[in-house]
Amino acid sequence: MKISKDTYQKITIKLKINGEIVETDIHVSDLLLNVLRDKLGLTGAKPGCLNGDCGACTVIMNQKPMKSCLLLAIEAIREEITTIEGLLNSTIQKEFVNHFAFQCGYCTPGFVMVSHALLMNDPNPDKKTVIEWLSSNICRCTGYQEIEKALYSVIKGGNACGLKPKNTVKSNGAKKTDETGRLN
C-alpha cells in the first residue's frame, strides 16, 4: 500500500469488525476509535481521554482488550476486531444488568469489553488477575463493587459466556501479539 505524506490524502482499507469485512476511507493518521465511531457508526466505544488512561474506548482485538484510542486504524488491518456492538446477550452483559454494574453507562462498554476479554483468556482468573485487568479502566460513578460482583458471578457460574475455548478460535492470519496485546 502506498502511503502519501499528505495527511489529507485518504486511503481505502478493509477491516474485520464483529465478523464482517468493512471497507472505509481513512487518513493514515486516523485513530481506530475515531474510524469506528465516525466512519462506521459504532459509537459504543467512547472517547474519555485519548491518552490510554480511562479505557472507555476498549475493544477486543484478537482476543485481547485494546484501547482503541492508542491504535491507528491501519494497525487494525487484517486483525480481528470485536466492539461492544458485536457482543449480544453475553453472560457478562446480563450480569451487568442484574448487578446494577453501571450508572451513567459511559464507561460500561469499556468495562464489558475488558471483562469479556478476561473471561475469554482466563475463565477462572484469580483475584490478582482480575485487579490487573479491571484497573485499566475508570468508572467514576460506581464504587466498582457492582462491576466486581457482575464479573465474579460469571466466573462462579463457570465458563458461561458462550465462548469457544481460547485455542479453538481461528486466528485468521492475525499477527502475533505480545502479552499486552500490542502488535509485535
Binding site: 495527511t7 487518513h27 493518521s29 465511531r37 465516525d38 457508526g41 459504532l42 459509537t43 459504543g44 466505544a45 467512547k46 472517547p47 474519555g48 481521554c49 485519548l50 491518552n51 488512561d53 480511562c54 472507555a56 466492539t83 461492544i84 456492538e85 457482543l87 449480544l88 452483559q93 451487568f96 444488568v97 442484574n98 446494577f100 453501571f102 450508572q103 451513567c104 453507562g105 459511559y106 464507561c107 460500561t108 462498554p109 464489558v112 485487579i131 479491571l134 484497573s135 479502566n137 475508570i138 468508572c139 467514576r140 460513578c141 460506581t142 464504587g143 466498582y144 463493587q145 457492582e146 462491576i147 466486581e148
Partner: protein
C-alpha cells in the same frame, strides 16, 4: 406497596450494556462542522496581540472567532465573556475558536493562531485574594449586571458575602469552657466525569436555535441563551440525551454558548464542540476550593455553645455558580448539630483559578471536612469520645438550623439512629486506634453529615403521562438521566400509583425543552422528590380522566370507581369495569361512536414556603428537608512510610424511604468512592503562573478498581411527609463525610492534625516531621 422499595432493574439497563445508549458526542451528521478552542496558557495575562492570518487561509476553515462583541455572562453576576476579551483570568480560558469541516483541520488552524500575552500577577489562594493589597481580578465588579440576591464588594476580590448571625455570640463564648480554633485548606479539583462535555448547535433561517448538550440543566441553557443573545425563549430548543456522568459539573452553562457563537459565525450550520480531557479539566468549570477557619466552643460536658466561622471559597476567575456555592456553604455552615450561637461569613473569592461549578454535595463535603475535623479536635481537647460528642449534640426535631429554620420530624432525619448504627458497624467499642504491630496502625474516623437543597425558591418540575393504545403509558419528565437512575424511580412511582405493570411504563430518557415539561435542573438530590410529586399528580390526573370516562360509559357516579389490574371498575362489583386499554384513546361504542380521546395526565410541583436568605442574618428557608447520616472510614497507616490503605468505608443514611435498594446502595457507594478520591488524592496542582500542572487522568487520578475499600451501607427510614412515599434526597450524601472521616482517621493514626486536602502520604510526612520537631498533638 408493590413497586416501591423493590430493586427493579433500571430502565436504561440494556441500552447501556450493549453500547446502544446515545450520548451527545455520539451524534454525527454529514454536514457537521467542528469547533476547536485556543486556550490561555497563563493564569492571568493581558492579551496583547492575536494573529489569525494563517488560520483564516487554511482549507476547510469556516470561521475564526475571538473575543469582543459578545455579551457578559454569568448566572448571578455577569462577569465573564464566553471568549476572553483583552485579558485572560485563568489557565485554560477560551481565547479563540476555529470552525472547520473536520476536527483535524480545525485543530491545525487553531494551532497556527499566534497570541502575544503580557503576564499579570497571579492570585493562587482565596486568602491571598482577601489581602487588601492583592491585585483586583475584576476592577469593574460594581458595574456588572447582577441578580438582587448577590452582594459583590467593589474594589475587592469578594464576589459575594453570606452572613449567618444566629443567637448571641457573647453569651455563647461566655458559656464555653473549652474552645478550639483551626484552619483548613483545599485547592480546586475536578469532577472527571468519563464523558467530557460536548455541545452541538445550529440556527435555522427562521431564527430557531437548536442545541444538543451533555448537560444537567437544559432548561437553564434555554433560558440563558435567550437572555444573553436576545432570542425568544420558545425559539431556543435544547435536547439532552443520556449524560455520561455529571456530579454537578454539567450544571453550568458554558460550551453551549460557544457552540451557539460558532454556529452563528458559520451561517447557522450545525457545529460540534467537544472538550478534550485536558480542556474538560482546565477550561470547563471545576470543583471549588476552600480556605476555612473555625473557632468552636463547648461546655465542660461537651455541649456545643458557640461557633465562629470564616469560609473563603476559591471561586476562581468568574463567579458563575461559585456565589451560589458559597451561599450553600453558609446555609449548612456547621455540621448537623444544635448550636445556639453561630456567626459565619462565607465569602466567594475571585482567584486566577478555573472557575467553579457545583460538585456533588454542593459545598457540603468541603464545609464538613473543616467542621468535622474541628469536632475531632474539640473531642480530643475535651478528652471525650468523638462519637459521643456528636451524639449528644446531634440535630433533632425542635432544633433550629444556622438559617433559623425550626425543624420537625419530617424536615430532618433521625441522626441519633444513624450514629447508633454506625457505632455498631464500626465496632467502635473495640477501640478507635489499634496498633497492629509491624509499623502498622489501624484507625477509625467518623463524620456526621446533613444537607438540604438551595435551589431557586420557585424551581418547578413537571411530568406528563401519555397513554398508548394498549393501555401502557409514556412517562415524560425533564429530569436528566445522569446516571442516578431517577427516571427508573419515577417509573416505579407511576407504576405503583396507576397500578400498572412496570413494563408498561415507558420512560423517555431524552429531554427536549420544547416537548418535555421543565425540571429546573437535575441537581441537589431533588429529582425524585420534585418530579416524583409531579408524577403522582400526573397519575392522579390520568386516573380521574379514566374514571370519568368509565362513569359515562357505565352510567355510574365517578366516586363509585376504583382502579386495579389495569382496569377501572365498580367498587361493589369489580366484574363491571373497563380496561385501561379500552379507555386509553377514549371509548368507542359498538356502533362506532366515540367519546373522550387519548388520556394525557399532567402534573407539576414547586417546593413550598422557600425563602431567600436575609442579607444581614442569613435567616431563611432554603430547602424542604435535611437528609442526615453518619459515616466512617477505617485506615491502615504504615508509620514508617506514611502510606495507607483505606480498608473500609461505611455510610448510614436516613433515606426517608428507600425506593430501590440496589440503586440506593449504588448511589451511596459510588459517592463514597468519589469522596474518598477527593479526600485522599484529587487536587489541581498550580504553579506560580496559575497553571494547572496535572490536567490528565494519569496525573489526576480517580480511584481505580482494586484501590477501593470495602463499602458498607445502611439506611434508616424516617419519612419526609411531603415527598413521594417519604423519600429524601440521596444522590450526594454518600460523599459528604468522606474527606472528613478520612482526615479524622488519618489524623488519629498519625497523631497530627491533618487539616489539608488531599490527604497524601507526603502531607502526613510533612506534618509528622513538624510534629517530631515539637508540635505534637
Amino acid at each position: 406497596m408493590v413497586m416501591i422499595g423493590k430493586s427493579v432493574a433500571r430502565k436504561d439497563a440494556w441500552e447501556k450494556v450493549t453500547g446502544q445508549a446515545k450520548y451527545t458526542g455520539d451524534s454525527q451528521e454529514g454536514d457537521m462542522l467542528y469547533v476547536e478552542k485556543v486556550i490561555s496558557p497563563y493564569g492571568h495575562a493581558l492579551i496583547k496581540k492575536i494573529d489569525l492570518s494563517r488560520a483564516r487561509q487554511l482549507a476547510g476553515v469556516k470561521a475564526v472567532i475571538t473575543g469582543g462583541n459578545l455579551p457578559l455572562t454569568g448566572e448571578e453576576i455577569r462577569d465573564r465573556y464566553p471568549i476572553a476579551y483583552k485579558r485572560v483570568r485563568y489557565h485554560g480560558e477560551v481565547v479563540a475558536l476555529v470552525v472547520a469541516d473536520t476536527p483535524k483541520r480545525a485543530r491545525q488552524a487553531a494551532d497556527t493562531i499566534h497570541i502575544t500575552y503580557a503576564p499579570l500577577p497571579v492570585i493562587n489562594t482565596p486568602r491571598q485574594a482577601l489581602d487588601p493589597k492583592a491585585p483586583l481580578i475584576h476592577e469593574d465588579l460594581g458595574q456588572y449586571k447582577k441578580i438582587s440576591k448577590v452582594y459583590p464588594e467593589q474594589g475587592t476580590n469578594i464576589a459575594n458575602r453570606t452572613k449567618i448571625r444566629k443567637g448571641n455570640m457573647l453569651k455563647g463564648w461566655s458559656e464555653s469552657d473549652v474552645v478550639v480554633e483551626e484552619s483548613y485548606s483545599l485547592r480546586p479539583s475536578d469532577h472527571a466525569a468519563m464523558e467530557t462535555r460536548c455541545a452541538l448547535a445550529s440556527i435555522r433561517a427562521d431564527g430557531k436555535v437548536f442545541i444538543t448538550s451533555s448537560s444537567q440543566a437544559p432548561f437553564m441553557i434555554k433560558r440563558l441563551i435567550s437572555e444573553y443573545f436576545g432570542i425568544d425563549i420558545g425559539d431556543v430548543i435544547v435536547t439532552t440525551p443520556l449524560v455520561g456522568g455529571g456530579y454537578g459539573g454539567k450544571a453550568s452553562v458554558q460550551l453551549e454558548l460557544l457552540a451557539y457563537i460558532a454556529s452563528r459565525a458559520s451561517g447557522g450550520r450545525l457545529v460540534k464542540v467537544q472538550n478534550t480531557r485536558e480542556e474538560d479539566m482546565l477550561t470547563s468549570p471545576c470543583h471549588i476550593g476552600l480556605d476555612a477557619t473555625i473557632k468552636l466552643g463547648c461546655s465542660q460536658k461537651g455541649k456545643l455553645k458557640a461557633v465562629k466561622i470564616l469560609y473563603l471559597w476559591d471561586g476562581g476567575a468568574y463567579s458563575d455558580k461559585a456565589v451560589s456555592l458559597s451561599r450553600a456553604g453558609a446555609v449548612d455552615c456547621t455540621g448537623p448539630y444544635q448550636i445556639e450561637n453561630v456567626s459565619c461569613d462565607s465569602l466567594c473569592m475571585y482567584t486566577n483559578h478555573p472557575y467553579a461549578s457545583p460538585y456533588r454535595g454542593y459545598s457540603h463535603s468541603e464545609v464538613l471536612f473543616a467542621f468535622e475535623r474541628t469536632m475531632d479536635s474539640l473531642a480530643n481537647k475535651l478528652g471525650m469520645d468523638p462519637l459521643e460528642l456528636r451524639r449528644m449534640n446531634a440535630i433533632l426535631p425542635g432544633h433550629t438550623t444556622p438559617t433559623q429554620v425550626l425543624l420537625n420530624s419530617s424536615s430532618v432525619g433521625n441522626l441519633p439512629a444513624c450514629i447508633h448504627r454506625l457505632k455498631k458497624l464500626m465496632e467502635w467499642e473495640k477501640g478507635q486506634r489499634i496498633d497492629l504491630g509491624n509499623f502498622k496502625v489501624k484507625a477509625k474516623g467518623i463524620s456526621c453529615v446533613w444537607k438540604t437543597s438551595t435551589i431557586d425558591t420557585n424551581a418547578s418540575s413537571g411530568v406528563i403521562l401519555i397513554f398508548n393504545p394498549d393501555g401502557s403509558v409514556n412517562l415524560v419528565s425533564g429530569v436528566i438521566e445522569i446516571g442516578t437512575g431517577s427516571k427508573t424511580i419515577l417509573a416505579q412511582i407511576v407504576s405503583e400509583r396507576l397500578k400498572i405493570n412496570l413494563e408498561k411504563v415507558k420512560v423517555q430518557m431524552k429531554v427536549n425543552t420544547q416537548s418535555t415539561p421543565e425540571h429546573w435542573k437535575t441537581v441537589a438530590s431533588r429529582g425524585t422528590f420534585m418530579a416524583g410529586r409531579a408524577a403522582l399528580q400526573a397519575a392522579d390526573d390520568a386516573i380521574s380522566q379514566l374514571k370519568h370516562l368509565a362513569s359515562c360509559v357505565l352510567r355510574a357516579p365517578v366516586e363509585d370507581f376504583e382502579i386495579g389490574g389495569e382496569r377501572v371498575f365498580l367498587r361493589d362489583d369489580p366484574s363491571k369495569g373497563l380496561s385501561y386499554k379500552e379507555l386509553a384513546y377514549g371509548y368507542t361504542y359498538p356502533n362506532g361512536n366515540a367519546i373522550g380521546g387519548q388520556i394525557i395526565g399532567r402534573g407539576h410541583y414547586v417546593l413550598r414556603h422557600l425563602t431567600p436568605l436575609n442579607p444581614e442574618t442569613g435567616a431563611g428557608k432554603p430547602g424542604p428537608e435535611w437528609t442526615v447520616g453518619a459515616q466512617g472510614v477505617e485506615v491502615e497507616l504504615d508509620t514508617r512510610e506514611y502510606t495507607y490503605r483505606i480498608t473500609k468505608s461505611i455510610s448510614v443514611i436516613d433515606a426517608g424511604k428507600v425506593m430501590n435498594p440496589k440503586m440506593a446502595e449504588g448511589q451511596i457507594t459510588g459517592a463514597m468512592s468519589m469522596g474518598l478520591a477527593f479526600g485522599g488524592r484529587e487536587t489541581f496542582y498550580f504553579d506560580d503562573l496559575g497553571r494547572v500542572m496535572n490536567p490528565q487522568l494519569r496525573t489526576y487520578r480517580p480511584l481505580r478498581y482494586g484501590e477501593n475499600p470495602e463499602y458498607v451501607c445502611e439506611f434508616i427510614e424516617t419519612p419526609q411527609k411531603d415527598s413521594p412515599y417519604g423519600l429524601r434526597g440521596l444522590g450526594e450524601h454518600g460523599l459528604l463525610g468522606m474527606p472528613a472521616a478520612l482526615g479524622n482517621s488519618l489524623s488519629l493514626a498519625a497523631g497530627v492534625h491533618l487539616n489539608e486536602l488531599p490527604l497524601l502520604p507526603e502531607l502526613i510526612w510533612r506534618k509528622r516531621k513538624g510534629a517530631d520537631e515539637g508540635d505534637l498533638l
